[in-house]
């Protein structure tokens, strides 16, 4: 995270030399001090803005109707306490408050809490007096004198490192405290530690660096220190110490706060207070509600040049659509759109048109300031919309534009960030911080929380809202903009829809509730949930718990690879086959958390081999894990992780019980979000201990967990197969056919679902009894019938009650993989449906044969054959040539305007090419294929797409599946279309052939040869039937597109390649025209 601010700043009163970090891993936490005065613009500029505002009086009047509710008398007279839900916490460096802290001076960190009161007032609470600190272990024999000496030495070293800083004192205090490290079981309850309090948050890191490298101490020589809790972000430190969790309610009693003399923010309530006067309410009862925060959803449109993706340096922003919703209401409060140039009115929408782009941008800024949203949402706003607006304003030299935050006259800060994670790869982007407002980019959320084949807004809304959205290609946008007020209105409607859909997604998927609850459960600010990884959530909980227990957490960055990897979860070997008897599934309920609780696995219960020898712990007080580690039992030391897990699971139980009772849908939403957050949090604790580049990896714990897991699965298998036997009086011998990480599949041999359920329950209860609490085996469901293909791949009907099945359940089967064409997905789903639900294996076989025949006969709908891949970099950057990259290059040569750009997904089909052509040369744009009748390569689809998934399904069922399905007589006839643009066709002479027998026609005959004349009735029937089928299709497809675009009187413009009917619609149009021509030949 390099500190590069593109904007000019006054010479900063520099802190320490910025530590350059080339590639920050996902979970590197670094505080960054922001000096208040730096971000503010100068007085001259401010007056320029004010002048400017006056000129736009008319606009201001228009915007003012959307301001927040007025403050009541109680607030203005400061006679009541202020209670608000906080959403964002950050800090700035400013002069310490003279009234509240009469004894300090100089720069200090001021915590800012932004939030909303229950009446809907915006709040900015500035908290003073909280100081950054960390711990080191106190070297033995250090007395009070030594401490003051140590303090001086450290201060001197700090001054050396930060030479041009104007801070009076770097190390404020060094105190001796009694603490204990969280690592390893220790019999002594506490040791002396030194708490080092520094002046500014960034100094924690620089001080840590000095201590890591070692300092010269009198009498002790050169000594380096292990630091504790020195990697905790300042805002998080504050929250932990004040028991504040993300998104909770905070109260400041009357008289304890001071209204700011000169308000620095745009918030209605702005005041200063001491950190010790804050009252933090736990999110229970009344305080679990949500304040009516304002959520702004917006979208911008830019007019790109032909052949280029819009660039902020050149292409104007032409429209900005906004939608503001109050949390908890279904209907938006405000709907408006700002357009460049005139735009016809839109019902229910406030259309604001401007002549100059500058005015559009400034109007939007004024709108943000007036509406004062707490949360800003949108689709890909963090990567596109927001950076674009800011860079565009910079290109237009509108210096006063980027004042979008809540701090008066403070510009937004733009940082280049590199986010790299094992999951997502490395991404470069711009991080834009808008002070006091939470950014919630639905695009990021979708990528994080869901596995989808495409993340375009169109396909995401099709998936979750079952609503197709029309997609206007960016090359058309400029045409619409350059048209008239009507075409711009068209664009505005489209733009509004793009602003509306993120809000719908937010509502539908309950993101506000789920994320606020996640913040409350894990205790981190809401903004961390999206911008940071998993581990900070666990770390936050660990730190809170450790603080209660007087434990401190070392800042131990281990090089993970040293410890090597450990054996992962195991699965019992799958006995592949098609089971037509009920299969009972026994599941361990939250297996890993239960293991950690049952065996008291924790950092503080781990006994090192060395300690095991020295400490002389009785063997009955320890657990020896199957992986060979030793942990003490809870009578000696209760583990912190088990305690956290117990609380999480107990809280989840409570939330679920409350959920059952709850009536109010809003309360329900909160509770459901909470129980989900609790579940996710409980499951992520295990991962935290195993993350080798994480905050506090401890492979002893994670490998013990998995080894116990393996042992339990084996144990269960053994017990089931030993107990449920004919010798023990059961009807059949039970058989474990498969076992996964936390479940075991048993075939009891009975053929009735209900009987299997009873046996399943009996087995679960019996086996649970043999485990240490709270490990519990539960009977959950029956699979019947069950198609087990291999490990992690299976399908079956899912029964939880004896009379009817709930659904069809599949795992690891090609129904969702993104790099398959739709044909594979449909084929697999339909086959499974036929096999499992209809119990019609021959039908399924026939179905596959028909599909293969259709494919070979060129009758397949092209959209089913489209394969889509994301274009992440340009062709030169790829080392190996791949189909989609090559195609993108080729398309660029054909027409740069519509060619896919980096970041787009490239759809393609595989076409027949010359013998020996490389696979990557055979890709082609589906539209191009349609327009030019290019033959697809059915063999490719047969061999590379269909064959594997289909054989996987059929092999357990059918003998000779491959021969039967892929090489039968249905594969004999093949039809290939003749390309209309290939070289040879240019020289071919078109001559009519007989519709009946394809013989060449002569002597003026146009339809049939003399031989076929007698059959004209039947041949006509055939031709007309084809026309009729196409007409049906044509009508259905085109009216559907009218429906999507929401207008009957306007032409369909949509070019969404994600839409399943896009290619079909195009093809129907073309086929229709051809079929009509064919039919017209009969009119002799």
């Amino acid at each position: 995270m390099n500190k590069t601010n593109p904007r000019k700043r006054p010479a900063p009163p520099s802190q320490q030399p910025p530590t350059k970090q080339a590639l920050a891993p996902e979970d590197e936490f670094v505080d960054e001090d922001v000096f208040l005065e730096e971000t503010l613009i100068s007085e001259d500029e401010e007056s320029a803005i004010l002048r400017d505002m006056e000129q736009r009086q008319a606009l201001a009047a228009r915007l003012s109707k959307w301001t927040r509710p007025r403050l009541s008398q109680d607030y203005t007279s400061q006679s009541c306490s202020i209670l608000f839900q906080q959403l964002e916490i950050d800090y700035v460096i400013g002069e310490s408050h003279k009234e509240l802290l009469p004894n300090s001076s100089g720069p200090a960190a001021i915590i800012r809490i932004f939030g909303v009161s229950k009446e809907g007032h915006s709040v900015c609470c500035k908290v003073h007096g909280f100081e950054p600190y960390f711990y080191i272990s106190c070297p033995p024999g250090m007395g009070p004198d030594d401490i003051s000496h140590f303090h001086q030495t450290l201060e001197a070293r700090m001054r050396e490192a930060n030479r041009n800083s104007n801070v009076g004192r770097f190390v404020r205090r060094v105190e001796m405290v009694q603490r204990r490290s969280i690592m390893y079981y220790q019999q002594i309850k506490s040791h002396p530690f030194l708490k080092i309090v520094v002046a500014l948050p960034t100094m924690v890191a620089s001080c840590r660096g000095i201590l890591d490298r070692g300092i010269q101490l009198d009498g002790l020589g050169m000594k380096s220190f292990m630091t504790y809790e020195s990697n905790v972000l300042f805002a998080l430190r504050f929250m932990i110490d004040c028991s504040i969790v993300g998104g909770n309610w905070i109260e400041i009693p009357a008289g304890k706060y001071k209204k700011a003399t000169k308000s620095l923010s745009y918030c209605q309530l702005e005041f200063d207070c001491l950190y010790s006067d804050l009252i933090s309410h736990a999110p229970e009862g009344e305080y679990s509600k949500m304040a009516p925060f304002r959520i702004l959803s917006f979208d911008i449109e830019c007019a790109g040049r032909k052949g280029h993706f819009p660039e902020p340096t050149q292409d104007p922003v032409i429209q900005i659509a906004n939608l503001v919703t109050l949390q908890g209401e279904d209907q938006p409060l405000i709907r408006n759109v700002m357009t460049l140039n005139t735009c016809s009115p839109i019902v229910g929408v406030d259309v604001m048109s401007f002549d100059k782009e500058e005015e559009v941008l400034l109007a939007w800024r004024d709108f943000i300031r007036e509406v004062d949203p707490d949360i800003i949402i949108g689709y890909n706003i963090c990567k596109f919309d927001l950076p674009y607006l800011i860079e565009r304003a910079a290109a237009l030299k509108i210096a006063e534009f980027p004042i979008l935050g809540r701090i008066r006259n403070s510009r937004v800060r733009v940082k280049d960030t590199t986010f790299s994670s094992r999951q997502y790869g490395t991404r470069e982007s711009k991080e834009i911080s808008i002070e006091g407002r939470v950014q919630f980019d639905l695009f990021q959320v979708m990528q994080r929380d869901y596995k989808l084949s495409s993340y375009s807004l169109n396909s995401v809304s099709a998936h979750f809202l079952s609503e197709q959205k029309e997609d206007v290609h960016h090359s058309i946008i400029s045409d619409l903009q350059n048209g008239n007020a009507e075409t711009r209105r068209r664009l505005a409607v489209y733009c509004l829809k793009d602003a509306y859909l993120p809000q719908r997604l937010l509502d539908k998927l309950m993101f506000v509730y789920n994320y606020v609850e996640m913040a409350r459960v894990t205790g981190v600010p809401i903004s961390f949930l999206l911008s940071r990884g998993q581990s900070i959530k666990v770390l936050s909980q660990l730190l809170r718990k450790a603080k209660q227990k007087n434990l401190v957490i070392p800042n131990a960055k281990q090089a993970g690879s040293e410890q090597g990897t450990f054996e992962g979860a195991t699965v019992l070997e799958a006995r592949a086959g098609f089971y037509e008897k009920p299969i009972a599934t026994l599941d361990f309920a939250s297996l890993y958390p239960s293991i950690m609780m049952a065996y008291n696995l924790c950092y503080c219960t781990l006994v090192t081999p060395e300690n095991a020898r020295n400490l002389n712990i009785p063997p009955e007080s320890v657990y020896k894990t199957p992986s060979g580690e030793t942990f003490v039992k809870s009578n000696l030391q209760k583990g912190i992780l088990p305690e956290i897990l117990e609380e999480l699971l107990a809280a989840r139980k409570r939330a679920k019980a409350d959920l059952k009772e709850a009536k109010d849908p809003l309360v329900k939403a909160v509770l459901d979000g909470r129980q989900l957050a609790l579940k996710i949090s409980a499951n992520s604790v295990y991962g935290f201990t195993g993350a080798t580049i994480g905050q506090l990896p401890c492979l002893e714990i994670s490998s013990s967990v998995t080894s116990y897991g393996r042992q339990m699965i084996e144990h269960t298998k053994k017990l089931v197969e030993d107990k449920f036997t004919t010798t023990n009086g059961y009807e059949h011998n039970a058989e474990v056919i498969y076992g996964d990480t936390d479940s075991v599949m048993v075939q009891f041999g009975v053929s009735a679902v209900e009987e299997a359920m009873n046996l399943g329950r009996e087995a679960a209860e019996y086996i649970s009894g043999t485990f240490i609490k709270p490990i519990k085996l539960e009977f959950e469901k029956i699979y019947y019938p069950y198609l087990l293909i291999s490990k992690k791949r299976y399908a079956g009907l899912f029964w939880t009650k004896p009379d009817t099945f709930d659904k069809m359940d599949t795992k690891g089967i090609e129904t969702v993989r993104r790099d398959n064409c739709l044909l594979v997905k449909n084929l697999v789903t339909d086959c499974l449906h036929k096999i499992l639900i209809d119990r019609d294996v021959p039908g399924a076989v026939q179905y596959v044969k028909n599909a293969i025949s259709d494919l070979l006969m060129n009758r397949m709908d092209l959209s089913l054959l489209v394969i889509t891949k994301g274009l992440t970099k340009t062709g030169d950057d790829y080392e190996v040539k791949t189909a989609h990259v090559e195609l993108a290059e080729r398309m660029r040569k054909r027409d740069a305007a519509t060619a896919p750009n980096v970041g787009d997904r490239v759809p393609y089909v595989i076409i027949k090419a010359a013998k020996g052509a490389k696979a990557y040369e055979k890709s082609e744009d589906p539209i191009y294929v349609l327009e030019n009748n290019i033959p697809i390569d059915p063999q490719y689809y047969l061999e590379n797409q269909i064959s594997k998934p289909i054989l996987r399904i059929f092999e357990p069922i059918l003998k000779n599946a491959s021969k039967e399905l892929l090489h039968g007589s249905h594969t004999r006839s093949i039809s290939i279309s003749t390309p209309s643009n290939s070289g040879i066709m240019k020289f071919a002479k078109k001559q009519f052939t007989c519709i009946g027998c394809k013989a060449l026609l002569s002597n003026g005959d146009r339809t049939l040869c003399s031989h076929c004349k007698g059959r004209e009735a039947e041949l006509y029937c055939k031709t007309v039937a084809q026309v009729s089928d196409l007409e049906i299709l044509f009508g259905r497809l085109w009216t559907q597109c009218q429906e999507c675009q929401g207008s009957l009187h306007q032409d369909v413009l949509c070019t969404s390649r994600d839409c399943p009917i896009f290619y079909r619609r195009k093809k129907a149009q073309k086929d229709m025209a051809e079929a009509r021509v064919q039919l017209d030949r009969w009119n002799f």
Binding site: Q331, S344, P345, I346, V347, G348, H463, S466, E486, R489, K807, M808, L822, N826, T829, D830, L832, H833, I837, R859, S973, R1015, A1017, E1018, L1019, Y1020, C1021, K1022, V1024, A1025, Q1026, V1027, S1028, D1029, E1031, I1032, F1034, G1035, R1036, W1038, T1039, Q1040, Q1042, E1043, G1046, S1047, L1048, H1049, Q1050, D1051, V1052, P1060, I1061, Q1069, M1072, A1073, R1076, V1077, L1079, W1082
Partner: protein
């Protein structure tokens, strides 16, 4: 005995596609043409209906201002089948049995013109009665929520009618029949032969023959044959199968041959006939009827079909328009649907939305310019008839022509007074 003669004039021209081609045009144009036609009409009525209300477009609406807007209705239906469902993730869960009617309590109407859309509110306008594609004038005002609160609805009403010709004394009949479904398992070849024999006067005593001689015209309103569609799944057919497919057509030709030899005959295509699917369906090709088509009394017509017989105007369809209304709206009987189409002045408002239709660019052939005297719809469940009257003295005979193959009923319409009765040909005695 000599057959009575009548003068006949075909008015099918608007329904003939001729040289129109698919050139990438979309359906927006037909809606636009419809709106333009209907708006001119409705504006002329609005001046009497609401002389004091301003007329504006959807865009021109202002909150609280009462006004009249003319626009196309769009009905949002949650049960409406959607081609995208074929692609939805849980394909297999979709029930295979589709409901007969897609009306739901949650349906709502939207009014649209070129300028925009507005949701209609209030309980004056009942969504279950209306369908997408009708053009109406609405009096109301915009509410704060952006809805348009409907206070009154104006439909175009029955179109003007040409005068009914002076009544003659003699009875002359037109015979209407539909749904012969030759080739289907339900059709009984004997039944239709009986009908043919009756028409041609080969049956019954002299009295019956004299009635038969008064039949001046026969109209076959669609679904004359049933071609096994299963054979046509795009597969390459063996020539044996192909000839099997044309078998029913040949049989039909033989029967029609007998009628056409005696009196004029109009045959309209229906959804099951070897014709195109979209409305207007084009005339069945003459090559299908090598026998009958040599007679000049044999006329292959379009569907919808419009003609004048002795100055009496007929308009009819093979049933698709009413069947589609029945799926997407509700009425107490089929005649109600027929009446509505006349009052809306549109033969097939659901085309193109749910009813296939050719994408016209400059006109809307389904707009009913002149009120017919007789309006018939083929292929209905049962025979039904009624006369409706218009505000300007128009009088229209509505007829539901039943499926002949199912109940052996044909309809006789007397041109003298437009009274109807049925002819029933049962080949089985009911117990």
């Amino acid at each position: 005995m000599e057959r009575v003669q009548s003068s006949y004039e075909s008015q099918d021209e608007p329904f003939e596609i001729g040289k129109e081609m698919y050139r990438g045009q979309q359906y927006s144009q037909i809606y636009y043409a419809r709106l333009r036609l209907m708006r001119t009409l409705l504006y002329s009525l609005v001046s009497q209906w609401k002389p004091n209300s301003p007329v504006c477009t959807v865009l021109g609406l202002e909150e609280g201002k009462e006004c009249v807007v003319v626009g196309t209705l769009f009905k949002n239906m949650k049960l409406k089948p959607c081609i995208l469902d074929e692609y939805s993730k849980e394909r297999s869960v979709v029930p295979l049995v589709k409901p007969h009617n897609f009306v739901d309590d949650d349906d709502y109407l939207v009014l649209e013109d070129e300028s925009g859309r507005v949701k209609l509110g209030g309980n004056i306008i009942v969504p279950s009665v209306y369908v997408t594609g009708i053009v109406v004038a609405i009096h109301g005002k915009e509410t704060g929520a952006g809805d348009f609160l409907v206070q009154e609805v104006l439909e175009a009403g029955l179109p003007p009618q040409i005068e009914f010709p002076i009544k003659s004394r003699e009875d002359r009949y037109v015979l209407l029949v539909s749904g012969l479904s030759i080739g289907s398992s339900k059709s009984n070849p004997l039944q239709f032969q009986l009908l043919v024999d009756h028409i041609t006067g080969h049956l019954g005593d002299e009295k019956e023959q004299s009635i038969a001689s008064q039949i001046v015209h026969v109209v076959i309103a669609g679904n004359s044959v049933e071609i096994p569609r299963g054979l046509l799944n795009g597969q390459n057919l063996a020539s044996k199968d192909l000839s099997k497919m044309a078998e029913p057509v040949k049989e039909l030709d033989i029967l029609l041959n007998q009628i056409a030899a005696g009196l004029p005959l109009d045959i309209m295509p229906g959804p099951c006939d070897p014709a195109n699917f979209s409305l207007p369906q084009q005339a069945l090709h003459r090559c299908l009827f090598p026998g009958s088509s040599v007679y000049n009394t044999f006329r292959s017509c379009t569907n919808p079909h419009c003609f004048e017989l002795d100055g009496i105007r007929f308009l009819g369809t093979s049933g698709q328009n009413v069947d589609d209304l029945d799926k997407y709206s509700e009425a107490k009987d089929k005649l109600d649907f027929m009446e509505r189409t006349l009052r809306w002045r549109h033969l097939a408002p659901t085309a193109p939305n749910t009813l296939g239709c050719y994408p016209y660019t400059d006109r809307d052939p389904f707009f009913i310019q002149n009120c017919p005297h007789v309006y018939f719809v083929g292929n209905q469940e049962k025979y039904d008839t009624r006369v409706i009257k218009g505000s300007e003295g128009q009088s229209v005979r509505l007829i539901c022509v039943p499926k002949f193959s199912e109940n052996g009923v044909a309809v006789m319409l007397n041109l003298r007074d437009l009274e109807c009765h049925t002819l029933s040909f049962g080949t089985q005695f009911s117990p």
